[in-house]
Symmetry: D2
Subunit: 332 residues, 4 copies
């Protein structure tokens, strides 16, 4: 889901998950689980998450391929491992936050991976957004070694990672959910149980594919209306009080000037990049192909975002699809 770096006030809307479906809202300060937590992957999301774990009193061992990412955590009190295996050796619970399926396979099943040294009974929580089939593959390997692998991708973006208000969509054995929640509530606000391993990924992928479709649709409708002579704020207010409304039109409108404090009003800087959305749409496409599911609009949104990445929009917020549809300066 959208990494709303500069849209703080909207974050609540993005991530509020009603407290049914076994979710859990944590509002009090936590004082350490007593457990030793390993954290692998200290990027924009993982770094703040590991810091929150430390700040909540946990004993944390970290690893990242970039040494500078580790030294920051070290300064804050974390121990350091030289590879995933070393982290696993010193931990009971391990959280991974990595860019893609390949990194996750390497971190767990690679030569110096977690599976080499983690103790039977270890809880392995992968918060990366990856292919659900890789989550299942890792879970099967973990099970052979008596470990528990859980997928728990997040929603809420960098701001929520820093604030410790992430939403986690959790897939794994239901009896392990309380243990996972006990740790994840140190870094998140809403922990939702989604079903067997891979279900967390599935839920995230479905939501983000729909987000992309709604956003492209909103951009098309707003662009069409403006070209037909409508004032964008007026059209936006009509849509938002009618059946065309969505999160994309109400909270994250792609037309510059319609809403303050959204990427569209800031030259599409910040927010959730087109390249990242393209990656998530690729995962949705893979899952749809594998499960024989027809996703005509999802596929086309995927292709449009892919075109945008090769036309200069890779690092712009994904709402820049509005700009992509418009007449450009160099057109004839």
């Amino acid at each position: 889901m959208a990494a709303l770096t500069n849209v703080t006030r909207n974050a609540a809307v993005l991530i509020k998950v009603i407290g049914k479906h076994r979710s859990f809202s944590c509002s009090t300060v936590h004082h350490g689980s007593g457990k030793r937590v390993g954290f692998i992957g200290l990027g924009n999301m993982g770094g703040p998450m590991a810091l929150n774990l430390l700040n909540k009193g946990n004993s944390v061992t970290v690893f990242d391929v970039y040494p500078e990412a580790m030294s920051k955590l070290q300064d804050a009190g974390a121990s350091v491992g030289h590879n995933p295996a070393e982290v696993a050796e010193k931990s009971d619970t391990i959280i991974t936050m990595l860019p893609n399926s390949g990194h996750v396979q390497e971190a767990y099943a690679g030569e110096n991976g977690v599976f080499q040294t983690a103790k039977p009974g270890s809880l392995l929580i992968d918060s990366s957004t990856i292919d659900p089939s890789v989550s299942k593959e890792m879970a099967a390997l973990a099970e052979k070694k008596g470990m528990i692998f859980i997928d728990a991708p997040v929603s809420g973006g960098v701001m929520a990672a820093k604030a410790g208000t992430l939403t986690f969509m959790v897939g794994g054995p239901e009896e392990q959910f309380p243990n996972a929640r006990a740790i994840l509530e140190h870094v998140g606000k809403n922990i939702v149980y989604c079903g067997p391993v891979g279900s967390g990924q599935a839920a995230k992928i479905c939501n983000n594919m729909l987000l992309a479709i709604n956003m492209v649709g909103t951009a098309e409708a707003m662009n069409l209306g403006v070209r037909l002579g409508l004032d964008p704020k007026l059209l936006s207010s009509i849509i938002n009080t009618s059946s065309g409304r969505s999160w994309s039109s109400e909270i994250y409108n792609p037309v510059p000037g319609v809403l303050p404090n959204v990427p569209a009003s800031n030259n599409y800087e910040g927010g959730f990049g087109t390249a990242l959305m393209t990656k998530d749409l690729g995962l949705a496409q893979n899952s749809a192909t594998r499960s024989n599911s027809a996703i005509p609009l999802g596929s086309l949104a995927h292709q449009l975002y892919r075109l945008m990445t090769v036309r200069g929009y890779a690092k712009k917020d994904f709402s820049s699809v509005y700009q992509f549809l418009q007449k450009s300066e160099n057109s004839n």
Copy 2:
């Protein structure tokens, strides 16, 4: 917008238009405008509207190609004309509610059309959903005869037509808006001024195109999630508290059983038919082509609904796209 025949409780959500942008909420009983109102087109929408005009104390003359549609109104106190020209002869203000552009052209500019007999200064309000370019064409012809033509398509469906709570999106000369509103508030709750003639059509077309996109997208995401093993109610609740939410997922969910009282939970009966949505998407496509606007997802939604109309879904509610995507009984 969706004709929510059996979704009464949701109608308010569909049609509430915040009272800025020169809209007007009528909450008190009205007692006749003193003006003579003509009403042409007494179908599922036009019939109840004409009845409301009568009940509010107006003098109403009606016409429809089906005599039985007229006799119902006659019993309720309406006068009858034998063609649009006869209606126009006896009226100061004329409202039309017709199926498509061709009917509107015929009713106004045809052999026995309104333009033949209407007095200079007459206010002609077309509430049909048609091509904005036809609205402009009619307005130009009206202007030559000293009449005022206004487009005012509606949102809210049959229930709102009966309840007199329709939303009108009005396009025409701004100085004529108060006059149009004075009549339309007898049949509607929210009257929104959108700009010059054709703007009402433009606003409606943009909203409905977006509605179609969001609905197909919701159907795809829900279908994908279910095939990946997620419970549809759980997935729906995750989407509705996250960035994928829209009117289509929250108020009109296309998956049977997720919401009560929606067409999806009633075998896709009632609601807003696939054939009508296809017609609106055709209007959006025409407007987009004429204005050189790219609408990739809108075009694809158009084509998918068109495919549905030839595969047996023409009369089903447009949320039946969920069923269209699923494995059917006769598939291999």
Copy 3:
């Protein structure tokens, strides 16, 4: 069809129409029809066509909104009219070659249009590429005045217009076909009878929509293959000897360097412009919507070409979609 200005050798492939289906190949020199021919619209296509009519010994009266276009023909021996009506006054047969539907409506049914002065029995041949419904509209108006209106759009481009080797796709009353052919064989090589009025436009629109689809498809397949490591010439030869082959892959390959003498090997200069293809796809879309025909790939090709026109490709040959799909310099 493609205006292959610099692909002379391929022109034959593009326009050869086997001599059945009532087509007619003219190979001998013609010496005037004795009829007075009017020609309206002297652009890139119309200019050379009018010149050929003159050179074949006809008495020709011309009109164009640009005086300089007329003086060129005047120098070659043509008479000049100040508007379509003046041309019609002096002619028995009139040929129009105009940019779009609106121009055609104006030239025939406008204030100083052909219908004002043409004699009953006049043969009106429109070679513009326009909406078949406008052809039918003009034919109906002509019929009321006892004139015969025929649609006869062309294939072959500027080179064929100059060489007098155009293909004409003719729609109109079958008994009038010999008369139309007698004139058109002065400017074309293959004259194909397609059916009632509008059929010529229908045939052209269907072919060009398919051309666009095949071209975008070829560009996608070639681009995918190259990114997967295949040599483009090798892939091209495999496709061209297999089931993926088409005119677009064999004769007009969109990958620079695969074929000599095609726009792709000349920086996509010349050829058939993206803006013109977009116009034809708009006509196909209109006809499909009006006839309730599903054209999912045609619609998407339309939208992609529309996107290209706003991203700087309007004047490039339509095979530049290959470049549009590729990684651009300013992408990340």
Copy 4:
């Protein structure tokens, strides 16, 4: 490429590959390679291929999960293995012809797979159509054991398999190509070298994606033309002599009655099934996503074929997309 079971006369067109690009045409009778050949996967394609190897005098050991498939070959003189490992034990060269990537992984790298027992130096030729990334994965595993893995998917269908006239698109180390060719010319007519391992799959995937696009496009254009009133044979002849022509329109026209001896004229029986085309489009989609290639029409064709598989067309020839677009009996 299309499995043209009942389209014998067209097979030549489908598979002729000009003899450059290191391809090789075998026209003389071959008398055994002296090598021991293993063959795994004896389905509609593999069965006849194995039989041809036997008939050309090779010593052949076979395996299939269905015993009856093996007994047929046993009767013809083949030895039998109880699993891939047993086949590999008795062979110098092994050919596999399996339904999908998973089967290939199992046959080579599974518990009783080829890699368990094949001798260093063995030539492993996989003729299945699978994901090129799996071909590369298998090649890497083979290399570790000193074996050579080559991908060589086929074109031409069941008829060509029986006739020994298949086309092979070969990917692997160039120096191994002569060895592969020496065996493959016993079962095929054209052996094309495409590049490093995976290149054969890439070429096949690109061609088949383009075939699907051209076919859907042809169906759309023909359907549109017919609905606009054109005779399908006439439209077909215009397209086939113009720029819209392709293998799909000329050799395999999807409209019933336009061509004899194609599936369209035989109730879409035989030919290349929609489910198989959907599988190949899924492979194209996976390769495109992995290589960041935009394939908008390819993706949409994929989704349309996927929709067809759930609407009753799974076993019909892929040209039945024409019927899918048309008005059906139960539509309103």
